[in-house]
């Protein structure tokens, strides 16, 4: 019970202090709208397949929404030493990290709903396998958040967190099949796509919305679960080394 109170307090504080601030909410709306608009302008008036774009825009919204905030907020709290308060709480590092990442995961899941709502006004989404969409979004949010956590543990300055995040995020936009099919990538860099969790999450969303992906869904679920567990374990190990050293 005590652990649950502490967990909820950290989650609620982060949501209130960071994630539900107007700049972040506007980011969650502006980002997918801008990308959709960019593709609309690129189509030069030709009919645009919104449904084909939707999985990529959703995956990217979750990726940027989760990693942008978590890495920065943890680095910010470490810098101002308020993070020490959390490390001194009698809850253990695993629970603390889960509490800190839950806000980002929740924010990522909410972000993913924005493109769906926008798309629902433009196309018919009745054939969508929603039972796949929700867990896929959750897994993308978790793996992206834990990537943000991995970054937060590895740096000590806020600007380093932002730079390091972009080092991972922008290549993922092009390497994970969000807007450029995996088959169109040069064979030399294609293996990189398969070591990035977003590739699997995006492919699951394509199965859910379009009924067609390039990977076996079972493989994608397993890979996403493995990436999520691995990134969390690595982050905890690095946190113990660098924060309680």
């Amino acid at each position: 019970m005590k652990a649950a109170i502490a967990f909820w307090a950290i989650l609620a504080k982060d949501m209130r202090n960071y994630y539900l601030k107007p700049p972040n909410i506007s980011w969650g709306i502006i980002f997918p709208v801008s990308w959709t608009l960019m593709f609309f302008l690129r189509s030069r008036g030709a009919p645009m397949d919104i449904k084909d774009l939707l999985p990529g825009v959703m995956a990217m919204s979750v990726l940027f929404g989760t990693t942008s905030m978590l890495a920065v907020t943890i680095t910010f709290e470490k810098r101002h030493r308020s993070f020490e308060r959390l490390l001194l709480a009698p809850i253990g590092l695993n629970l603390l990290m889960l509490a800190k990442t839950s806000g980002a995961i929740t924010f990522g899941v909410i972000n993913s709903a924005v493109p769906i709502v926008l798309a629902s006004f433009l196309v018919d989404l009745s054939g969508t396998t929603w039972l796949t969409v929700l867990p896929a979004v959750l897994f993308i949010a978790m793996s992206s958040t834990f990537l943000g956590l991995f970054i937060a543990v590895s740096v000590s300055e806020v600007f380093e967190a932002q730079t390091f995040s972009n080092f991972f995020r922008f290549p993922m936009v092009f390497l994970c099949g969000l807007f450029l099919p995996l088959g169109d990538l040069p064979a030399v860099i294609r293996p990189l796509s398969y070591v990035l969790p977003l590739t699997y999450g995006n492919d699951l969303l394509r199965h859910a919305f379009l009924g067609a992906g390039v990977l076996n869904p079972a493989v994608s679920w397993v890979m996403l679960a493995l990436f999520t567990a691995l990134l969390f374990a690595m982050s905890i190990r690095n946190a113990k080394r660098s924060w309680i050293s």
Binding site: M1, K2, A3, I5, A6, W8, A9, I10, K13, N17, H80, R81, S82, E84, R85, L86, L87, L88, A89, P90, I91, G92, K240, I244, S245
Partner: protein, 323 residues
Amino acid sequence: MTSAVLDVRDLTKHYGDVVAVDGVSFRVGAGEIFGFLGPNGAGKTTTINALTGLVDPTGGEISVLGLAYPGHISEAQGHIGVVPDESNLYGEMDGFGNLCFCAALYGLPRRVREPRARELLDRFDLAEVGRRPFAAYSRGMKRKLTIAAALIHRPQILFLDEPTTGIDVASARQIRRLLGDLNADGVTIFLTTHYIEEAERLCHRIAFIVAGRIVRIDTKESLLAEADGSSSLLLALDGNLEEGARLLGESFPDIAIARNPEGNLLLTAADELELLPLLQRLNEGGVKVYEARIARPSLEDVFVRVTGIEAREMKAAEGRGRG
């Protein structure tokens, strides 16, 4: 000493080649105020961080309230309060919100934490600014709220790292008074400071730490007794210090005479100084005395003597080791 609530044996912490804490051992009894006194960089903060779970020691054993580290560290953290050397609450949250959040970190339910937060705001004279963001507090107010936050879960041991550094005199005095009151309520206090006067006023026992090693550990009374063998007298004269010193020097050759930084004569003797003959001699020589005051031996005298000697010895030993 009563039963030990804090037992540290051979605590060592290395950062690469740098030895921050070097085989430190001590025990703190229940209800004690234990002072850790040393210059900057002596290893005070590293020690306190190791005791509170923020630093993983390289070697040694730590037991808090009978709970051995690292196995029972989380359990022990539930019984300790920590005031770091910087006031590190959340700037965007108000005082009341910060206290409630800290209480929740220790698992206190809402019905308990809100009255407790109000009680502490009252006790620390912060009730009027309880709804003001922490970032808008003065340094003294920030310090007080940080101490209040460390007490929110009624810890048995309170660790304070330089609690009055960088704040105004009035706030520092209030904090010292509050710490005394807390100790009277039964809270064991572990205090690091480089203010000798603060340690002398507050602490029951004091450890001197230099270059990561404890060079002396004793009760305040025992440490002060070391300086009690001699007696000192401060004389404020009419300005003719040289003439006063000459008269006294000629008549009382066993008394050491010096000028102190405030411009008074400081007389020191191995035996007890008798005031009347001194005043008579000065009066005969036409030197007026405005004030005569017995100079109490201070902890500072002991600290300088002990740490100075030890620091030089350690430096020599280090040099020999390298050679």
